[in-house]
Protein backbone atom coordinates (compact mmCIF):
# COMPACT_ATOMS: atom_id res chain seq x y z
CA UNK A 1 0.00 0.00 0.00
CA UNK A 2 1.31 3.34 -0.84
CA UNK A 3 0.18 6.50 0.74
CA UNK A 4 0.75 9.84 -0.79
CA UNK A 5 2.06 12.55 1.34
CA UNK A 6 -0.25 15.61 1.13
CA UNK A 7 2.76 17.83 1.42
CA UNK A 8 4.34 16.18 -1.55
CA UNK A 9 1.15 16.58 -3.60
CA UNK A 10 0.98 20.27 -2.86
CA UNK A 11 4.59 20.63 -3.84
CA UNK A 12 4.01 18.81 -7.15
CA UNK A 13 1.01 21.06 -7.88
CA UNK A 14 2.99 24.21 -7.11
CA UNK A 15 5.87 22.93 -9.22
CA UNK A 16 3.45 22.36 -12.10
CA UNK A 17 2.06 25.86 -11.68
CA UNK A 18 5.54 27.22 -11.75
CA UNK A 19 6.17 25.45 -15.05
CA UNK A 20 6.22 28.21 -17.68
CA UNK A 21 4.97 25.80 -20.40
CA UNK A 22 1.61 25.51 -18.57
CA UNK A 23 1.16 29.27 -18.52
CA UNK A 24 2.13 29.38 -22.12
CA UNK A 25 -0.58 26.79 -22.89
CA UNK A 26 -3.18 28.77 -20.90
CA UNK A 27 -2.24 31.95 -22.74
CA UNK A 28 -2.55 30.23 -26.11
CA UNK A 29 -5.90 28.67 -25.16
CA UNK A 30 -7.19 32.06 -24.00
CA UNK A 31 -6.00 33.63 -27.24
CA UNK A 32 -7.84 30.96 -29.22
CA UNK A 33 -11.06 31.55 -27.25
CA UNK A 34 -10.91 35.32 -27.65
CA UNK A 35 -10.07 35.06 -31.35
CA UNK A 36 -12.82 32.47 -31.79
CA UNK A 37 -15.39 34.68 -30.04
CA UNK A 38 -14.47 37.66 -32.19
CA UNK A 39 -14.31 35.69 -35.42
CA UNK A 40 -17.65 33.96 -34.83
CA UNK A 41 -19.23 37.37 -34.36
CA UNK A 42 -17.59 38.65 -37.54
CA UNK A 43 -18.80 35.54 -39.40
CA UNK A 44 -22.34 36.04 -38.10
CA UNK A 45 -22.51 39.64 -39.33
CA UNK A 46 -20.70 38.76 -42.55
CA UNK A 47 -23.10 35.94 -43.39
CA UNK A 48 -26.11 38.09 -42.51
CA UNK A 49 -24.88 40.81 -44.81
CA UNK A 50 -23.87 38.45 -47.61
CA UNK A 51 -27.27 36.75 -47.56
CA UNK A 52 -29.28 39.95 -47.48
CA UNK A 53 -31.47 38.67 -50.31
CA UNK A 54 -32.85 35.85 -48.13
CA UNK A 55 -35.80 36.02 -45.74
CA UNK A 56 -34.87 37.26 -42.22
CA UNK A 57 -35.63 33.83 -40.68
CA UNK A 58 -33.36 31.98 -43.09
CA UNK A 59 -30.63 34.59 -42.78
CA UNK A 60 -30.52 34.43 -38.97
CA UNK A 61 -30.51 30.64 -39.03
CA UNK A 62 -27.62 30.31 -41.47
CA UNK A 63 -25.60 33.05 -39.75
CA UNK A 64 -26.08 31.33 -36.41
CA UNK A 65 -24.98 27.94 -37.78
CA UNK A 66 -21.85 29.48 -39.34
CA UNK A 67 -20.87 31.40 -36.21
CA UNK A 68 -21.38 28.34 -33.95
CA UNK A 69 -19.26 26.22 -36.28
CA UNK A 70 -16.40 28.73 -36.04
CA UNK A 71 -16.75 28.92 -32.26
CA UNK A 72 -16.69 25.13 -31.85
CA UNK A 73 -13.50 24.85 -33.96
CA UNK A 74 -11.74 27.44 -31.81
CA UNK A 75 -12.90 25.86 -28.55
CA UNK A 76 -11.52 22.49 -29.74
CA UNK A 77 -8.22 24.16 -30.65
CA UNK A 78 -8.09 25.84 -27.23
CA UNK A 79 -8.65 22.53 -25.46
CA UNK A 80 -5.92 20.90 -27.53
CA UNK A 81 -3.45 23.32 -25.95
CA UNK A 82 -3.95 21.44 -22.69
CA UNK A 83 -3.33 18.13 -24.35
CA UNK A 84 -6.94 16.94 -24.79
CA UNK A 85 -7.05 14.13 -27.31
CA UNK A 86 -10.16 14.44 -29.43
CA UNK A 87 -9.78 11.12 -31.22
CA UNK A 88 -10.98 9.40 -28.02
CA UNK A 89 -13.81 11.89 -27.72
CA UNK A 90 -14.85 11.31 -31.31
CA UNK A 91 -15.07 7.58 -30.64
CA UNK A 92 -17.23 8.22 -27.60
CA UNK A 93 -19.26 10.71 -29.55
CA UNK A 94 -20.59 7.92 -31.78
CA UNK A 95 -22.06 6.10 -28.81
CA UNK A 96 -23.35 9.30 -27.27
CA UNK A 97 -24.96 10.27 -30.56
CA UNK A 98 -26.90 7.00 -30.70
CA UNK A 99 -28.05 7.41 -27.09
CA UNK A 100 -28.98 11.07 -27.53
CA UNK A 101 -30.57 10.28 -30.86
CA UNK A 102 -32.94 7.77 -29.28
CA UNK A 103 -33.70 10.07 -26.40
CA UNK A 104 -34.37 13.17 -28.47
CA UNK A 105 -36.02 11.59 -31.45
CA UNK A 106 -39.03 13.95 -31.39
CA UNK A 107 -36.99 17.09 -30.85
CA UNK A 108 -34.55 16.11 -33.58
CA UNK A 109 -37.40 15.42 -35.97
CA UNK A 110 -38.93 18.80 -35.17
CA UNK A 111 -35.55 20.47 -35.55
CA UNK A 112 -34.94 18.98 -38.99
CA UNK A 113 -38.52 19.78 -40.00
CA UNK A 114 -37.98 23.33 -38.78
CA UNK A 115 -34.89 23.67 -40.95
CA UNK A 116 -36.84 22.48 -43.97
CA UNK A 117 -39.76 24.78 -43.17
CA UNK A 118 -37.47 27.79 -42.92
CA UNK A 119 -35.48 26.93 -46.02
CA UNK A 120 -38.54 26.03 -48.09
CA UNK A 121 -40.30 29.21 -46.97
CA UNK A 122 -43.55 27.28 -46.73
CA UNK A 123 -44.92 29.78 -44.21
CA UNK A 124 -43.67 33.16 -43.13
CA UNK A 125 -44.57 35.39 -40.21
CA UNK A 126 -47.62 37.40 -41.20
CA UNK A 127 -49.16 34.68 -43.35
CA UNK A 128 -52.70 33.66 -42.53
CA UNK A 129 -52.82 29.89 -42.77
CA UNK A 130 -55.09 26.96 -42.04
CA UNK A 131 -53.26 23.96 -40.61
CA UNK A 132 -55.12 20.92 -39.35
CA UNK A 133 -58.41 22.81 -39.15
CA UNK A 134 -56.96 25.78 -37.29
CA UNK A 135 -56.76 29.15 -38.97
CA UNK A 136 -54.55 31.92 -37.73
CA UNK A 137 -51.76 34.34 -38.39
CA UNK A 138 -48.22 32.95 -38.25
CA UNK A 139 -46.32 34.74 -35.49
CA UNK A 140 -43.02 32.92 -35.80
CA UNK A 141 -41.39 29.90 -37.37
CA UNK A 142 -38.88 28.64 -34.83
CA UNK A 143 -36.58 25.64 -34.93
CA UNK A 144 -38.92 23.33 -33.01
CA UNK A 145 -42.37 24.76 -33.55
CA UNK A 146 -44.46 27.24 -35.45
CA UNK A 147 -46.67 29.63 -33.51
CA UNK A 148 -50.07 30.73 -34.75
CA UNK A 149 -52.34 33.39 -33.37
CA UNK A 150 -55.92 32.39 -34.06
CA UNK A 151 -58.54 35.03 -34.73
CA UNK A 152 -60.05 34.55 -31.27
CA UNK A 153 -56.58 35.45 -29.99
CA UNK A 154 -55.30 32.08 -28.86
CA UNK A 155 -51.71 31.03 -29.28
CA UNK A 156 -51.37 27.69 -31.03
CA UNK A 157 -47.98 25.99 -30.98
CA UNK A 158 -47.69 23.49 -33.79
CA UNK A 159 -44.66 21.16 -33.76
CA UNK A 160 -42.71 21.58 -36.96
CA UNK A 161 -42.98 17.88 -37.71
CA UNK A 162 -46.77 18.29 -37.85
CA UNK A 163 -46.36 21.37 -40.05
CA UNK A 164 -44.22 19.44 -42.51
CA UNK A 165 -46.65 16.52 -42.61
CA UNK A 166 -49.83 18.62 -42.81
CA UNK A 167 -51.53 20.36 -45.65
CA UNK A 168 -51.04 24.10 -45.17
CA UNK A 169 -53.49 26.47 -46.82
CA UNK A 170 -52.26 30.04 -47.03
CA UNK A 171 -55.13 32.48 -47.18
CA UNK A 172 -53.24 35.66 -47.98
CA UNK A 173 -50.22 34.57 -50.01
CA UNK A 174 -51.77 35.89 -53.22
CA UNK A 175 -53.09 39.43 -53.49
CA UNK A 176 -56.59 38.53 -54.67
CA UNK A 177 -59.09 35.85 -53.64
CA UNK A 178 -62.42 34.58 -54.85
CA UNK A 179 -65.60 34.78 -52.78
CA UNK A 180 -67.92 31.85 -53.58
CA UNK A 181 -71.55 32.20 -52.58
CA UNK A 182 -74.00 29.39 -53.23
CA UNK A 183 -77.67 30.20 -53.45
CA UNK A 184 -80.73 28.17 -54.40
CA UNK A 185 -83.82 29.60 -56.06
CA UNK A 186 -87.33 28.19 -56.28
CA UNK A 187 -88.20 26.00 -59.26
CA UNK A 188 -90.84 28.44 -60.48
CA UNK A 189 -88.28 31.30 -60.74
CA UNK A 190 -87.38 32.93 -64.03
CA UNK A 191 -83.81 31.62 -64.31
CA UNK A 192 -82.81 34.31 -66.81
CA UNK A 193 -83.84 36.96 -64.30
CA UNK A 194 -82.01 35.08 -61.53
CA UNK A 195 -78.77 35.05 -63.51
CA UNK A 196 -79.06 38.72 -64.42
CA UNK A 197 -79.87 39.71 -60.84
CA UNK A 198 -76.89 37.80 -59.43
CA UNK A 199 -74.42 39.23 -61.93
CA UNK A 200 -75.82 42.73 -61.41
CA UNK A 201 -75.21 42.38 -57.68
CA UNK A 202 -71.64 41.25 -58.35
CA UNK A 203 -70.94 44.17 -60.68
CA UNK A 204 -72.54 46.76 -58.44
CA UNK A 205 -70.34 46.16 -55.41
CA UNK A 206 -67.18 48.30 -55.76
CA UNK A 207 -65.08 45.81 -53.77
CA UNK A 208 -65.79 43.02 -56.25
CA UNK A 209 -63.20 43.06 -59.02
CA UNK A 210 -64.28 43.88 -62.54
CA UNK A 211 -61.56 41.59 -63.77
CA UNK A 212 -61.16 38.62 -63.27
CA UNK A 213 -64.84 38.84 -64.11
CA UNK A 214 -67.51 37.50 -61.74
CA UNK A 215 -68.52 33.97 -62.58
CA UNK A 216 -71.97 32.41 -62.30
CA UNK A 217 -72.11 28.62 -62.25
CA UNK A 218 -75.33 26.59 -62.27
CA UNK A 219 -74.76 23.79 -59.79
CA UNK A 220 -77.71 21.77 -60.99
CA UNK A 221 -81.20 20.87 -59.83
CA UNK A 222 -81.29 20.38 -56.10
CA UNK A 223 -83.91 18.69 -53.95
CA UNK A 224 -85.80 21.89 -53.31
CA UNK A 225 -84.13 24.49 -55.50
CA UNK A 226 -82.12 25.26 -58.60
CA UNK A 227 -78.64 25.90 -57.20
CA UNK A 228 -76.20 28.54 -58.37
CA UNK A 229 -72.74 29.56 -57.29
CA UNK A 230 -71.70 33.18 -57.67
CA UNK A 231 -67.92 33.61 -57.65
CA UNK A 232 -66.62 37.15 -57.29
CA UNK A 233 -62.96 38.15 -57.00
CA UNK A 234 -61.79 40.59 -54.37
CA UNK A 235 -58.60 41.87 -52.85
CA UNK A 236 -57.65 39.38 -50.12
CA UNK A 237 -58.12 41.98 -47.37
CA UNK A 238 -61.67 42.65 -48.55
CA UNK A 239 -62.69 38.98 -48.63
CA UNK A 240 -64.93 38.94 -45.55
CA UNK A 241 -66.36 42.40 -46.16
CA UNK A 242 -67.35 41.43 -49.67
CA UNK A 243 -68.80 38.08 -48.63
CA UNK A 244 -71.00 39.72 -46.01
CA UNK A 245 -72.04 42.51 -48.37
CA UNK A 246 -72.84 40.16 -51.25
CA UNK A 247 -74.98 37.90 -49.06
CA UNK A 248 -77.06 40.86 -47.97
CA UNK A 249 -77.23 42.38 -51.43
CA UNK A 250 -78.29 39.11 -53.06
CA UNK A 251 -81.12 38.73 -50.55
CA UNK A 252 -82.23 42.32 -51.11
CA UNK A 253 -82.04 41.98 -54.90
CA UNK A 254 -84.01 38.72 -54.82
CA UNK A 255 -86.65 40.28 -52.59
CA UNK A 256 -86.93 43.24 -54.94
CA UNK A 257 -87.18 41.01 -58.02
CA UNK A 258 -89.64 38.60 -56.38
CA UNK A 259 -87.26 35.65 -56.55
CA UNK A 260 -87.79 33.12 -53.79
CA UNK A 261 -85.03 31.31 -51.90
CA UNK A 262 -86.98 28.17 -50.92
CA UNK A 263 -86.91 26.21 -47.70
CA UNK A 264 -86.38 22.45 -48.08
CA UNK A 265 -89.55 21.02 -49.60
CA UNK A 266 -90.98 17.53 -49.75
CA UNK A 267 -93.68 16.43 -52.17
CA UNK A 268 -95.96 13.68 -50.86
CA UNK A 269 -97.20 11.15 -53.41
CA UNK A 270 -100.30 9.35 -52.07
CA UNK A 271 -99.79 6.25 -54.22
CA UNK A 272 -102.86 4.10 -54.93
CA UNK A 273 -104.99 5.33 -52.01
CA UNK A 274 -106.26 8.90 -52.41
CA UNK A 275 -104.99 11.18 -49.65
CA UNK A 276 -107.60 13.44 -48.09
CA UNK A 277 -106.30 16.69 -46.75
CA UNK A 278 -108.44 18.75 -44.44
CA UNK A 279 -107.67 22.28 -43.35
CA UNK A 280 -108.25 22.54 -39.60
CA UNK A 281 -108.36 25.71 -37.60
CA UNK A 282 -111.21 27.69 -39.12
CA UNK A 283 -113.63 26.24 -36.58
CA UNK A 284 -112.98 24.83 -33.13
CA UNK A 285 -112.69 21.10 -33.31
CA UNK A 286 -115.09 19.19 -31.09
CA UNK A 287 -113.73 16.53 -28.83
CA UNK A 288 -111.98 16.08 -25.54
CA UNK A 289 -108.71 17.57 -26.84
CA UNK A 290 -110.35 20.93 -27.40
CA UNK A 291 -110.11 22.81 -24.14
CA UNK A 292 -112.37 25.65 -23.12
CA UNK A 293 -109.87 28.27 -24.28
CA UNK A 294 -109.23 26.87 -27.78
CA UNK A 295 -112.48 28.05 -29.29
CA UNK A 296 -112.53 31.03 -31.61
CA UNK A 297 -116.08 32.07 -30.79
CA UNK A 298 -116.52 35.65 -29.74
CA UNK A 299 -117.31 36.08 -26.09
Amino acid sequence: MTTTDPGLETFAFLAALADPSLWWAVARAAAYLIAGGLLSRVVRFGVQRALAHLEPGQRVLLARIASYAVLVLFVISALRQFGFDFTVLLGAAGIVTVAVGFASQTSASNLISGLFLILERAVQPGDVVTVGGRTGEVISVDLLSTKLRTFDNLLVRIPNETMVKSEIVSLNRFPIRRVDITVGVAYDSDLGLVQKTLLDVAHRNPLGLDEPAPLLIANGFGASSVDYMLAVWAKSENFLTLRNALTREIKEAFDAAGIEIPFPQTTLQPGAVPLTVKVVGAEPEPGPAAGPTTGGAPS
Binding site: I176, H203, D210, E211, P212, K235
Partner: protein, 305 residues
Protein backbone atom coordinates in the same frame (compact mmCIF):
# COMPACT_ATOMS: atom_id res chain seq x y z
CA UNK B 1 -74.02 59.70 -79.41
CA UNK B 2 -76.93 57.77 -80.80
CA UNK B 3 -75.41 54.54 -79.57
CA UNK B 4 -77.38 52.37 -77.24
CA UNK B 5 -74.57 50.87 -75.24
CA UNK B 6 -76.66 48.70 -72.96
CA UNK B 7 -77.91 46.66 -75.87
CA UNK B 8 -74.55 45.07 -76.22
CA UNK B 9 -72.38 43.57 -73.57
CA UNK B 10 -73.13 42.22 -70.16
CA UNK B 11 -74.38 43.95 -67.05
CA UNK B 12 -72.35 46.89 -65.85
CA UNK B 13 -71.90 48.74 -62.67
CA UNK B 14 -72.71 52.06 -64.12
CA UNK B 15 -74.62 53.33 -66.97
CA UNK B 16 -72.25 54.14 -69.78
CA UNK B 17 -71.64 57.72 -70.58
CA UNK B 18 -73.99 57.82 -73.54
CA UNK B 19 -76.99 57.17 -71.40
CA UNK B 20 -76.96 60.58 -69.79
CA UNK B 21 -75.52 62.77 -72.47
CA UNK B 22 -78.59 64.93 -72.86
CA UNK B 23 -81.38 65.77 -70.52
CA UNK B 24 -84.72 64.26 -71.53
CA UNK B 25 -86.62 66.61 -73.86
CA UNK B 26 -89.43 67.13 -71.37
CA UNK B 27 -87.11 68.11 -68.51
CA UNK B 28 -87.74 71.57 -67.08
CA UNK B 29 -85.31 74.21 -68.23
CA UNK B 30 -82.69 74.69 -65.57
CA UNK B 31 -80.06 77.40 -65.26
CA UNK B 32 -76.78 76.56 -66.96
CA UNK B 33 -74.61 74.30 -64.88
CA UNK B 34 -71.64 75.86 -63.10
CA UNK B 35 -69.22 72.94 -63.12
CA UNK B 36 -66.68 74.46 -60.73
CA UNK B 37 -67.71 72.89 -57.46
CA UNK B 38 -64.31 73.28 -55.81
CA UNK B 39 -62.69 76.29 -54.15
CA UNK B 40 -62.34 77.64 -50.65
CA UNK B 41 -64.79 79.05 -48.17
CA UNK B 42 -64.43 80.79 -44.81
CA UNK B 43 -67.11 80.25 -42.23
CA UNK B 44 -68.06 81.06 -38.65
CA UNK B 45 -68.45 78.56 -35.85
CA UNK B 46 -71.61 76.49 -36.25
CA UNK B 47 -72.01 77.32 -39.94
CA UNK B 48 -72.51 74.60 -42.56
CA UNK B 49 -70.91 74.45 -45.98
CA UNK B 50 -72.18 72.33 -48.85
CA UNK B 51 -71.05 71.33 -52.33
CA UNK B 52 -72.08 68.80 -54.89
CA UNK B 53 -70.09 66.96 -57.55
CA UNK B 54 -71.91 64.38 -59.63
CA UNK B 55 -73.63 61.87 -57.38
CA UNK B 56 -71.84 63.14 -54.26
CA UNK B 57 -73.19 65.77 -51.92
CA UNK B 58 -70.94 66.81 -49.08
CA UNK B 59 -71.82 68.94 -46.07
CA UNK B 60 -69.33 70.11 -43.48
CA UNK B 61 -69.89 71.89 -40.20
CA UNK B 62 -67.29 73.92 -38.36
CA UNK B 63 -67.46 73.50 -34.58
CA UNK B 64 -65.18 74.82 -31.86
CA UNK B 65 -62.91 71.80 -31.70
CA UNK B 66 -63.82 69.69 -34.70
CA UNK B 67 -64.90 69.79 -38.30
CA UNK B 68 -67.66 67.31 -39.15
CA UNK B 69 -68.19 66.04 -42.66
CA UNK B 70 -71.23 64.22 -44.07
CA UNK B 71 -70.84 62.53 -47.45
CA UNK B 72 -73.92 61.24 -49.27
CA UNK B 73 -74.30 59.83 -52.77
CA UNK B 74 -77.36 59.77 -54.91
CA UNK B 75 -77.64 58.58 -58.48
CA UNK B 76 -75.11 56.68 -60.56
CA UNK B 77 -71.53 57.40 -61.55
CA UNK B 78 -72.61 59.49 -64.55
CA UNK B 79 -75.03 61.82 -62.78
CA UNK B 80 -74.55 65.34 -64.11
CA UNK B 81 -74.72 67.75 -61.19
CA UNK B 82 -72.58 70.39 -59.54
CA UNK B 83 -73.04 72.91 -56.81
CA UNK B 84 -70.31 75.32 -55.91
CA UNK B 85 -68.78 75.11 -52.46
CA UNK B 86 -70.66 77.67 -50.34
CA UNK B 87 -72.03 78.35 -46.89
CA UNK B 88 -75.68 77.29 -46.70
CA UNK B 89 -78.38 78.38 -44.34
CA UNK B 90 -79.33 74.97 -43.11
CA UNK B 91 -78.70 72.98 -39.94
CA UNK B 92 -76.06 70.27 -39.89
CA UNK B 93 -77.47 66.92 -41.02
CA UNK B 94 -78.79 64.61 -38.37
CA UNK B 95 -77.07 61.33 -37.83
CA UNK B 96 -73.46 60.42 -37.42
CA UNK B 97 -70.96 62.32 -39.55
CA UNK B 98 -68.95 60.36 -42.09
CA UNK B 99 -65.72 61.88 -40.81
CA UNK B 100 -64.54 64.18 -38.00
CA UNK B 101 -61.33 66.15 -37.74
CA UNK B 102 -60.19 67.45 -34.38
CA UNK B 103 -58.23 70.67 -33.73
CA UNK B 104 -57.19 72.78 -30.77
CA UNK B 105 -58.98 75.56 -32.52
CA UNK B 106 -60.68 74.76 -35.80
CA UNK B 107 -59.37 76.59 -38.89
CA UNK B 108 -62.03 78.82 -40.37
CA UNK B 109 -61.28 78.12 -44.03
CA UNK B 110 -62.01 74.89 -45.86
CA UNK B 111 -60.28 74.27 -49.18
CA UNK B 112 -61.74 71.67 -51.52
CA UNK B 113 -59.87 70.61 -54.65
CA UNK B 114 -60.34 67.92 -57.29
CA UNK B 115 -57.72 65.18 -57.58
CA UNK B 116 -57.25 62.40 -60.11
CA UNK B 117 -57.52 58.76 -59.04
CA UNK B 118 -54.78 57.40 -56.81
CA UNK B 119 -54.46 54.16 -58.77
CA UNK B 120 -54.26 53.18 -62.39
CA UNK B 121 -57.68 53.26 -64.04
CA UNK B 122 -58.56 50.52 -66.52
CA UNK B 123 -60.89 51.98 -69.10
CA UNK B 124 -63.13 49.69 -71.10
CA UNK B 125 -64.77 51.18 -74.15
CA UNK B 126 -68.43 50.17 -74.32
CA UNK B 127 -68.03 49.43 -78.00
CA UNK B 128 -64.72 47.98 -78.92
CA UNK B 129 -62.75 50.02 -81.38
CA UNK B 130 -60.44 48.70 -84.05
CA UNK B 131 -57.51 50.78 -85.24
CA UNK B 132 -56.37 49.75 -88.75
CA UNK B 133 -52.63 49.36 -89.47
CA UNK B 134 -50.80 52.66 -89.76
CA UNK B 135 -53.65 54.67 -88.24
CA UNK B 136 -53.74 56.98 -85.25
CA UNK B 137 -56.86 57.78 -83.29
CA UNK B 138 -57.53 60.01 -80.30
CA UNK B 139 -60.18 58.94 -77.81
CA UNK B 140 -61.55 60.84 -74.83
CA UNK B 141 -61.97 58.80 -71.69
CA UNK B 142 -63.41 60.29 -68.55
CA UNK B 143 -62.64 59.06 -65.05
CA UNK B 144 -64.14 60.21 -61.74
CA UNK B 145 -62.14 62.58 -59.57
CA UNK B 146 -61.65 62.63 -55.81
CA UNK B 147 -62.50 65.63 -53.62
CA UNK B 148 -59.55 66.60 -51.44
CA UNK B 149 -60.46 68.45 -48.23
CA UNK B 150 -57.65 70.71 -47.06
CA UNK B 151 -57.07 72.95 -44.07
CA UNK B 152 -54.35 75.40 -43.26
CA UNK B 153 -52.19 74.01 -40.49
CA UNK B 154 -49.19 75.48 -38.68
CA UNK B 155 -46.21 73.20 -38.63
CA UNK B 156 -43.32 73.96 -36.35
CA UNK B 157 -40.01 72.50 -37.34
CA UNK B 158 -37.01 72.41 -35.07
CA UNK B 159 -34.98 75.57 -35.26
CA UNK B 160 -37.38 77.30 -37.64
CA UNK B 161 -40.34 79.57 -37.28
CA UNK B 162 -43.73 77.81 -37.62
CA UNK B 163 -44.94 77.67 -41.19
CA UNK B 164 -48.48 77.69 -42.43
CA UNK B 165 -49.15 74.85 -44.79
CA UNK B 166 -52.14 73.44 -46.64
CA UNK B 167 -52.67 69.84 -45.52
CA UNK B 168 -55.02 67.32 -47.12
CA UNK B 169 -57.06 65.71 -44.34
CA UNK B 170 -59.06 63.34 -46.49
CA UNK B 171 -60.10 62.56 -50.03
CA UNK B 172 -63.64 61.54 -50.86
CA UNK B 173 -64.52 59.75 -54.11
CA UNK B 174 -67.09 61.66 -56.10
CA UNK B 175 -68.17 58.32 -57.61
CA UNK B 176 -66.23 55.33 -56.31
CA UNK B 177 -65.33 53.11 -59.29
CA UNK B 178 -65.24 49.36 -58.87
CA UNK B 179 -61.93 47.61 -58.22
CA UNK B 180 -60.20 45.55 -60.85
CA UNK B 181 -57.04 43.52 -61.22
CA UNK B 182 -54.48 44.25 -63.89
CA UNK B 183 -51.77 41.69 -64.31
CA UNK B 184 -50.67 38.62 -66.21
CA UNK B 185 -52.27 36.27 -63.66
CA UNK B 186 -53.99 36.21 -60.27
CA UNK B 187 -50.66 36.03 -58.42
CA UNK B 188 -49.00 39.16 -59.69
CA UNK B 189 -50.43 42.42 -60.84
CA UNK B 190 -51.82 45.63 -59.53
CA UNK B 191 -55.12 46.67 -58.01
CA UNK B 192 -56.75 49.29 -60.21
CA UNK B 193 -60.09 50.96 -60.74
CA UNK B 194 -62.33 49.92 -63.62
CA UNK B 195 -64.32 52.48 -65.55
CA UNK B 196 -66.61 51.88 -68.50
CA UNK B 197 -66.52 54.62 -71.05
CA UNK B 198 -68.04 55.43 -74.40
CA UNK B 199 -64.49 56.36 -75.57
CA UNK B 200 -65.72 59.06 -77.91
CA UNK B 201 -63.54 60.27 -80.72
CA UNK B 202 -65.17 63.71 -81.15
CA UNK B 203 -64.64 66.19 -78.36
CA UNK B 204 -67.88 67.95 -79.25
CA UNK B 205 -69.80 64.79 -78.37
CA UNK B 206 -68.31 64.47 -74.93
CA UNK B 207 -70.75 65.72 -72.30
CA UNK B 208 -69.53 68.05 -69.57
CA UNK B 209 -69.54 66.16 -66.28
CA UNK B 210 -68.26 68.25 -63.41
CA UNK B 211 -66.99 65.31 -61.36
CA UNK B 212 -65.07 63.56 -64.13
CA UNK B 213 -61.78 64.46 -65.76
CA UNK B 214 -61.16 63.85 -69.45
CA UNK B 215 -58.00 62.12 -70.58
CA UNK B 216 -57.09 62.44 -74.26
CA UNK B 217 -55.81 59.06 -75.28
CA UNK B 218 -53.89 58.70 -78.52
CA UNK B 219 -53.57 55.18 -79.88
CA UNK B 220 -51.01 54.70 -82.65
CA UNK B 221 -50.97 51.40 -84.52
CA UNK B 222 -47.71 50.93 -86.40
CA UNK B 223 -48.07 47.16 -86.73
CA UNK B 224 -49.31 45.34 -89.81
CA UNK B 225 -52.53 44.03 -88.27
CA UNK B 226 -55.55 45.90 -86.88
CA UNK B 227 -55.44 46.78 -83.19
CA UNK B 228 -58.54 46.04 -81.18
CA UNK B 229 -58.81 48.46 -78.28
CA UNK B 230 -60.58 46.35 -75.66
CA UNK B 231 -59.27 47.92 -72.48
CA UNK B 232 -56.71 50.58 -71.72
CA UNK B 233 -54.86 51.21 -68.49
CA UNK B 234 -54.47 54.92 -67.77
CA UNK B 235 -51.63 55.75 -65.35
CA UNK B 236 -53.61 58.39 -63.46
CA UNK B 237 -51.10 58.91 -60.57
CA UNK B 238 -48.60 60.17 -63.16
CA UNK B 239 -50.91 62.76 -64.69
CA UNK B 240 -51.52 66.38 -63.74
CA UNK B 241 -55.02 67.85 -63.49
CA UNK B 242 -56.22 70.99 -65.26
CA UNK B 243 -59.43 72.92 -65.74
CA UNK B 244 -60.27 74.68 -69.00
CA UNK B 245 -62.17 77.95 -69.33
CA UNK B 246 -65.49 76.08 -69.59
CA UNK B 247 -64.90 74.47 -66.23
CA UNK B 248 -64.19 71.04 -67.68
CA UNK B 249 -61.57 68.97 -65.89
CA UNK B 250 -58.71 67.57 -67.95
CA UNK B 251 -55.76 65.37 -67.22
CA UNK B 252 -52.49 65.16 -69.13
CA UNK B 253 -52.76 63.14 -72.30
CA UNK B 254 -51.61 59.56 -72.69
CA UNK B 255 -50.06 58.14 -75.84
CA UNK B 256 -50.00 54.43 -76.64
CA UNK B 257 -47.90 53.25 -79.52
CA UNK B 258 -48.06 49.70 -80.85
CA UNK B 259 -44.79 49.29 -82.61
CA UNK B 260 -44.18 47.21 -85.75
CA UNK B 261 -42.68 44.39 -83.66
CA UNK B 262 -45.93 44.28 -81.61
CA UNK B 263 -44.35 45.88 -78.53
CA UNK B 264 -46.50 48.52 -76.92
CA UNK B 265 -45.14 51.62 -75.32
CA UNK B 266 -47.06 54.06 -73.23
CA UNK B 267 -46.15 57.56 -72.23
CA UNK B 268 -47.97 60.38 -70.47
CA UNK B 269 -47.81 63.54 -72.53
CA UNK B 270 -47.96 66.87 -70.76
CA UNK B 271 -50.97 68.57 -72.29
CA UNK B 272 -52.58 71.55 -70.61
CA UNK B 273 -55.82 72.63 -72.29
CA UNK B 274 -55.75 75.99 -74.03
CA UNK B 275 -56.38 78.75 -71.51
CA UNK B 276 -56.43 76.14 -68.80
CA UNK B 277 -55.32 76.33 -65.21
CA UNK B 278 -53.29 73.64 -63.49
CA UNK B 279 -55.20 72.38 -60.45
CA UNK B 280 -53.00 69.56 -59.20
CA UNK B 281 -49.60 68.07 -59.86
CA UNK B 282 -49.22 64.35 -60.51
CA UNK B 283 -49.65 62.37 -57.30
CA UNK B 284 -46.28 60.77 -57.67
CA UNK B 285 -43.18 62.87 -58.06
CA UNK B 286 -41.41 60.17 -60.04
CA UNK B 287 -41.49 60.37 -63.76
CA UNK B 288 -43.21 57.57 -65.56
CA UNK B 289 -40.03 56.09 -66.94
CA UNK B 290 -38.13 56.17 -63.64
CA UNK B 291 -40.80 54.39 -61.67
CA UNK B 292 -41.80 51.68 -63.94
CA UNK B 293 -39.43 49.62 -65.89
CA UNK B 294 -40.30 46.53 -67.71
CA UNK B 295 -43.07 45.30 -65.47
CA UNK B 296 -45.00 48.43 -65.96
CA UNK B 297 -44.65 48.50 -69.69
CA UNK B 298 -46.09 45.01 -69.70
CA UNK B 299 -49.05 46.12 -67.62
CA UNK B 300 -49.79 49.26 -69.50
CA UNK B 301 -50.77 48.07 -72.83
CA UNK B 302 -53.67 48.23 -75.12
CA UNK B 303 -55.07 44.75 -75.33
CA UNK B 304 -54.78 43.41 -78.80
CA UNK B 305 -57.61 40.92 -79.02
Amino acid sequence: MADAPHEAGGPHLDQPEDAVVDAPPDAPTSPPLDPRWWGEVTLDLGAVVRWRAGPSTVRAERRAADWRVWHATEGDAYTVAAERLAVVDEPAPEGAPTLRFGFTETPDTLHVAPRLADRTVVVRPEHSLSVPPGETVTLYASTPVWMALQFEVRRSRRGRAPETDLAVVTELASARPTDTWLGPNTREGELCYAVHTAARTELADVPLRPHRALTPLTVVNQAATPLQVARVALPMPYLALYVDDHGRLWSDAVRFVREPDDDTTVAPVSAAPAGGERLADPRTAQTFGQALGRTFSRLFKVDAR
